[in-house]
Symmetry: C2
Subunit: 211 residues, 2 copies
C-alpha cells in the first residue's frame, strides 16, 4: 500500500469534515524553534475573545507546547510521534476525536519542527503556513523547496534579530517566489509583536472567505 | 526488508573501511541553518595546512554547501536527496567512490538539516556532532531526544546572539545530559570565532586516539 496515497485519502476525509463544520484548519510548519508556538500563543491571546480556537500539537516527545497553548487560553491536544518525523492525516483524525471542535472555529495544527517530511503529508488543511527565522539563513527556500512549493503563506520571523545576522529579506522572498509565485509573505517579530496585525488580518480574510 | 537493519549493515561496512584507512569520520547534524557549513568553512581554513580534509554534503536540493566547502579549500561531494529527509549509509558509500579519500584524513559528513530523521541512520561515523543554535530555544534536547541520545558532542552555536534571545545554556545542557550523561559540550560563535579552539582541540584529540 502506498503510504502517501493512503495519507492523501484520509486527508481528503479530514478536509471534508472541516468544510462541513466550517472549521478553518491551518497547518503550521517550520524548522525546530522558528517560533510556531510563540506565534500561536500571541494569536490565541488576541483572538480568543472573538473566535473559537483549537490546537493540535505535534512533537516527537513532551507536552510542553500543548501546555503553553493551554496556558494561553485555547484547548490543545498533544500528539507525540516518538521517532516519527511528521504528523499525518490519520494522527490528526484521531486527535480530532479527543476534542469537541466547534463549528465556525479555527483549528491550528502545529507540526513537528521539520522543514523536510511534513511537506509531503497533507493533513486536510485549508492553508499551510511555513515559518522561517531570519537566523536560519536566506537560502532555506532553495534548499528545502518542497515545503515552500506546498505552502500558501511564509512568515519570516524574528525580524528583531536582523541587525545581528546575515539575512537578506529580499533574497529569501525572491528564492521562495521562484518556487512558488503565489506565496504570500509576512515579516514578523513574535517577540516584539511586529507583523501580528498583518497576520490577524490575513486570518480574518480567510475566515470571511470560508463563510 | 527492514530499512533500518539494512542501513545498519551498510553503515558497519563504511565503518570498517574508515578504520582500515585511518579516516576520522564525523557526522554533523542539526536543524536547518544552525551553522554546520559555517563551522566547516572555518575548520577547513584552520586545519587544511596540517590535515587532509574531505567533505560529503547532504541537502534536499542545490550544491550551495558543497560550493562553499570547495571555496574554503577542501574537496566536497554533494548528495541531493530530493524529497528525502536524511543521508543513509548507502548514499555515503556511493559518494566515497566519487572521491579519493586519503588514508589518515578527516571526513566530515554534513547531513540534511533535520533534527529528526538523521538520528536513526548510522552512516558509519566514528563521532556524531549535534549542533544547536541559541536562537532555537533551550528545550530542543527534550523535544528531539533521539538526536541527543545518539550524539557524542553537542555544539551550542551563535552564542553572540545570547543577549537578544531567551536561551539558558544551563537548561539546554541539563536537558541534554538527562538523556545522554556522556554528551560533551562546546559553546561556540562560528561568526565571531569563539569556541573554535576548543573544537579543534576536540578534533585533534580524537585523531590522536585513532592512531
Ligand atoms: N528574538 C526572538 N526570539 C523569538 C521570536 N519568536 C520566538 N522566539 C524564541 O525562539 C525560541 C523558540 O520559539 P518557539 O515558539 O518555541 O518555536 P517553535 O517553532 O514552536 O519550536 P518547536 O515547536 O520546538 O519546533 C524561543 O526561545 C522563543 O522565545 C522572535 O520574534 N524574536
Ligand atoms: N550570528 C551568528 N550567525 C551565524 C553563526 N554561525 C552561522 N551563522 C549564520 O547562520 C546562517 C546559517 O548558517 P549555515 O552555516 O549555512 O547553517 P547550516 O546548518 O549549514 O544550514 P543548512 O545546511 O541549510 O541546514 C548563515 O546566515 C550564517 O552566517 C554564529 O555563530 N552567529
Ligand atoms: Mg513549538
Ligand atoms: Mg549547510
Ligand atoms: Zn519523514
Ligand atoms: Zn525521514
Amino acid at each position: 500500500m502506498d503510504v502517501l496515497s493512503e495519507n492523501n485519502r484520509l486527508a481528503e476525509r479530514n478536509r471534508g469534515w472541516f468544510e462541513g463544520k466550517q472549521v478553518l484548519c491551518l497547518n503550521m510548519v517550520s524548522s525546530p524553534g522558528s517560533g510556531k508556538t510563540t506565534i500561536l500563543e500571541r494569536t490565541i491571546k488576541s483572538l480568543i475573545s472573538t473566535h473559537k480556537i483549537f490546537v493540535i500539537e505535534g512533537d516527537q516527545q513532551t507536552s510542553r507546547d500543548a501546555e503553553r497553548i493551554e496556558r494561553s487560553g485555547a484547548q490543545a491536544v498533544q500528539i507525540n510521534t516518538g521517532s516519527g518525523c511528521h504528523l499525518d492525516a490519520k494522527m490528526v483524525y484521531l486527535a480530532l476525536k479527543k476534542m469537541e471542535v466547534d463549528n465556525n472555529s479555527i483549528l491550528f495544527i502545529e507540526n513537528v519542527g521539520n522543514l523536510v517530511c511534513p511537506a509531503l503529508f497533507d493533513l486536510g488543511e485549508q492553508k499551510r503556513v511555513v515559518i522561517i527565522s531570519v537566523t536560519e539563513g536566506d537560502d532555506k527556500p532553495l534548499k528545502y523547496p518542497y515545503m515552500f512549493q506546498s505552502s500558501n503563506l511564509c512568515i519570516i520571523n524574528k525580524t528583531d534579530l536582523l541587525p545581528y545576522v546575515d539575512f537578506s529579506v529580499e533574497n529569501a522572498v525572491q528564492y521562495a517566489r521562484q518556487l512558488n509565485p503565489d506565496l504570500e509573505f509576512i515579516l514578523m517579530s513574535a517577540k516584539k509583536g511586529e507583523g501580528m496585525a498583518e497576520w490577524y488580518q490575513w486570518l480574518k480574510n480567510i475566515v470571511t472567505l470560508s463563510d
